[in-house]
């Protein structure tokens, strides 16, 4: 302990807490903290959208429940894909932490493939709906807001997934070439898991609560 540190401690009544400065109080890199903060605010943006959706839905007498088994199953599969991609992501981070770059990159590619699959399934469904005449401004059941909220919410989530795919691609490439350290992979992982997490709310609120019974 340097003399500095000693009289420093003296000034602090003997002990140095994790908040005393000279390092992160969380024992994590700033990048990770930064991503966490971004996630908090993005989570609030999504919450605001979900609240808006619930607001207009509760203030509407009859909200359509058009989703038959087919689309529910489709959405369930999408959910499974996303959940699985989260697992591959975890494995990617593991590999990166162990310093096995090629394997890490491999898992990252697997993860982003999951994202791509999700997007493809999602878009297929969207176009299916378009053909049924379901659009942001109208639909056969006469509650335009149904389409508005559906495409608004899923659209914004899809954007996040797509951004995530690009992001992961960059990171995978950089990792393979040894440009990035494991923290970069971990931070990308945080983002990806968050996108997964958001879907855990959109899926029941948008699909299951609008599923046609029987």
């Amino acid at each position: 302990m340097s003399s500095h540190a000693q009289d420093l401690a003296a000034h602090e009544g003997g002990h140095e807490s994790i908040w005393s400065g000279g390092g992160s109080p969380y024992a994590i890199g700033s990048n990770k903290l930064g991503m966490w903060l971004f996630i908090v605010s993005d989570a609030i943006t999504f919450s605001a959208l979900l609240v808006a959706y619930s607001y207009v839905r509760t203030s509407t007498e009859a909200w359509p429940r058009p989703f038959e088994s087919a689309s529910v199953i489709n959405a369930t599969v999408m959910t499974l894909v996303l959940l699985t991609s989260s697992v591959t992501m975890v494995l990617g981070v593991r590999a990166a932490k162990m310093g096995i770059r090629s394997r890490a990159a491999g898992w990252l590619v697997a993860t982003l493939m999951g994202g791509v699959t999700f997007d493809v399934l999602h878009l297929r469904e969207w176009f299916g709906l378009f053909h049924q005449g379901v659009t942001p401004w109208g639909n056969p059941w006469g509650t335009p807001l149904f389409g508005a909220t559906f495409f608004g919410l899923t659209g914004l989530h899809m954007t996040h997934v797509t951004i995530g795919v690009v992001y992961l691609a960059v990171v995978a490439f950089g990792t393979a070439r040894g440009k990035y350290n494991d923290e970069v992979v971990e931070v990308a992982g945080l983002y990806w898991h968050f996108v997964d997490l958001v879907w855990m709310f959109i899926f029941p609120l948008v699909y299951l609560l609008s599923a046609r019974i029987g």
Binding site: L37, L80, V90, H193
Partner: protein, 104 residues
């Protein structure tokens, strides 16, 4: 910032990863099942949201690794998030009022 290594030892193990994964899949299954079990909307909403919250916390705790970080981080992030999201719910008394005040 070199502290990143500090918690390398309490890394999330493969076993845990897959247990979490399976429970998430399981919970999803339950949700889908609920959607078809002719429940009344409010009850279903509560159940579904309850399950989703559990899923979310599983993802945050294990996949996003928060369970293994210092408590200080959790205490920095979660209260703010929950508080703001909680406040957003104050808009609902209105949405219910609107139903009766709508022009017919």
């Amino acid at each position: 910032m070199n502290a990143t290594m500090e918690h390398a030892h309490n890394e999330i193990s493969k076993k845990v990863t897959f247990t979490v994964w399976f429970s998430l899949l399981g919970l999803t299954g339950v949700e889908v099942f609920l959607a078809y079990a002719q429940l009344e909307l409010k009850l279903m909403l509560t159940l579904l949201m309850g399950l989703s919250l559990i899923k979310a916390s599983l993802i945050i705790a294990y996949f996003m690794h928060l369970r293994y970080e210092r408590r200080s981080l959790i205490l920095t992030l979660m209260p703010a998030l929950l508080f703001v999201v909680g406040m957003l719910f104050v808009v609902f008394p209105d949405s219910l009022r609107i139903l009766v005040m709508k022009v017919h």
